[in-house]
Amino acid sequence: MGGMLTPGRYLPAVCLLFLVVLPRLLPNPFYVHIAIMMAVFAALGGAWNIIGGYGGQLSLGHAAFFGTGAYASTLLVNAYGISPWITLWIGGLAALALSIPVGIICFRLQGAYFAIATIGLAEALRLLVLHFREITNGAQGLTVPFKGDAPWHFQFGSKLPYYYLALAMAVAVVLIVRRMERGRLGHYLVAIGQNQDAAEALGINSSRAKAKALALSAFLTGVAGVFYAQYTYVIHPDSVFSLGLSIQIALVAIVGGVGTTLGPVLGAVILEFFIQFTQIAFAGQYPGLELMVYGGLLVAVILWRPRGVIPWFARLYEGLVARLPAARGAQA
């Protein structure tokens, strides 16, 4: 075939290169922090998308998986001194395990009722974590024991290593989602979303497909939760199990493009920009103002584009790919 360097191939590579170099270009660690949060939310949005976008099941309780990962890992690190590199996967598995009963219960509902059930379960989990304070330290939360610059303990002196890990996580999620999208599960999820009866008549076990999607989504979300715990050193029920977080995760995917691989990346960037902007503009002076604007913007976007912001990003990207030059390698 020769070396056809199509924009479809090199554009993502160029972007990735830029992202790798990015921290060197940023003036101070605060900006790196923002970039890290963008990467984390890109990963979270991408993970949510598996069940929310492709699976068509709008979960507003994903914080439950995030928090489970964060707490599972931090509890193990504190209690047994296990390296977070290991508890990273345990946290993911804990979230995956949680997703099984959640799916069994919640998949009996559709649409908004499914969403409400997920909110309920996440809230119930948050309350339980608050309640059993002998184990979880209740509202005070848990801290990761500070070890300074200790890579084996997943702690680093500067923000850079965290950035690259977060970036790796986001890229991994994008690749995983792409793989899923092109495989059998991806097709089956879309079919179920289009018409579940027709899908089942074609041999698709919709419960099993949704459960798989939820499990994968939960696992990745849990891993992100562990990263977050290690990065911020402190977690409480109200920060990692909150409804606000769940809404934010879903929003990332929705704003950027439900059911697309790169949508959540865009969504994370836009959302994080917006959050930082409002925080700076209002300098925390007026409690509630920024979220009010946030919510107002959400309502406005829905009124303006009820069918979602998805199409324009995809079209934009495709337009760009079409206009960029392709480089030909050795001709056959």
Binding site: A115, I116, G288, V299, R307
Partner: protein
């Protein structure tokens, strides 16, 4: 843990159930007619509470009296919400509807935070500490009044839906939109009515509980979650179901608080949701 305590908790639960019923019926009314699941229903309760609070603070108007102001006010608010926010998304995908009402909920909650601050407010009319004592059971008078108020409102709603032409038209639209248009019923007006009523009921619930509940911006979240469990347990779209389910949920929550602790009341409510979905997903009124 003796029988009297359990009976006490049960009765308290029944009294609270009246309030849950109001909120849930409002929710089910909106869903039944307009087919939108209103995440902001709890915030409508919160609005009702704040209206009652300010009427009390500024002009010493008794909360039960302020029902006469709160309900029409919130009815109007509901009409505006339906006209400007819900109408454009009536046929939009689930996603849009969910996030519209979620967005509305966030806006209302934070508007309250911004304008009224996070301070816990309370309304203490003269009867707020009165209790009724009988056979070792103590019931708060405000809770009793709230329950009676809820009962009266539910009764009025029933009369409206069953006996008046407008009410019947509303039920008809909930059943079959297209046929109604053929019969000359204007669905648009019915939507406005339904959302207005649903909002007014939530606001009324807020008014009724203000004498014994603190008022703060996020107070609505619990109500919407409980209302949803009630609606699901009572079968989507069924008003009788919602009433029955409210009773179950109210009592269960109260007993849950008694046995498990005050902070786990909501967990118990979700336990009911889980049990419903596993054992009888179609709800109490649903076919198997």
């Amino acid at each position: 843990m003796d029988l009297t305590t359990i009976l006490q908790a049960t009765l308290t639960g029944i009294l609270m159930a009246g309030i849950y019923a109001l909120v849930a019926v409002g929710l089910t009314l909106i869903f039944g007619v307009v087919r939108i699941v209103n995440f902001a229903q709890g915030e409508f309760v919160m609005l009702g509470m704040y209206v009652a609070f300010w009427l009390w603070k500024l002009w010493r108007i008794d909360p039960y009296l302020s029902l006469l102001i709160t309900m029409p006010l919130l009815f109007l608010f509901g009409v505006l919400v339906q006209h400007f926010l819900f109408r454009p998304i009536l046929h939009a995908p689930d996603l849009a509807q969910i996030f519209m009402t979620v967005g509305l909920s966030v806006v209302l909650m934070n508007a309250a935070l911004f304008f009224f601050t996070a301070d816990f407010r309370s309304v203490k009319p003269v009867y707020s500490e009165w209790t009724l004592r009988y056979l070792g059971i103590t019931l708060g008078v405000p809770r009793l009044f709230a329950f009676l108020g809820a009962l009266i409102l539910a009764g009025l709603l029933a009369l409206f839906l069953l006996k008046t032409d407008l009410g019947k038209a509303l039920r008809a639209v909930a059943q079959d939109r297209e046929v109604c248009m053929l019969l000359g019923i204007n669905p648009e007006r019915m939507y406005l009515l339904a959302v207005g009523l649903g909002t007014a009921l939530a606001g009324a619930a807020g008014c009724l509980i203000v004498p014994f509940f603190y008022v703060f911006p996020t107070v609505g979240v619990v109500f919407v979650l409980v209302a949803f469990v009630v609606v699901i347990l009572g079968t989507l779209g069924s008003i009788q179901g919602a009433l029955l389910a409210a009773l179950v949920v109210g009592v269960a929550e109260s007993l849950g608080i008694l046995f498990a602790g005050a902070d786990l009341g909501l967990v118990v409510v979700f336990g009911i949701l889980v049990a419903t979905l596993i054992l009888k997903p179609a709800g109490l009124m649903g076919a198997q």
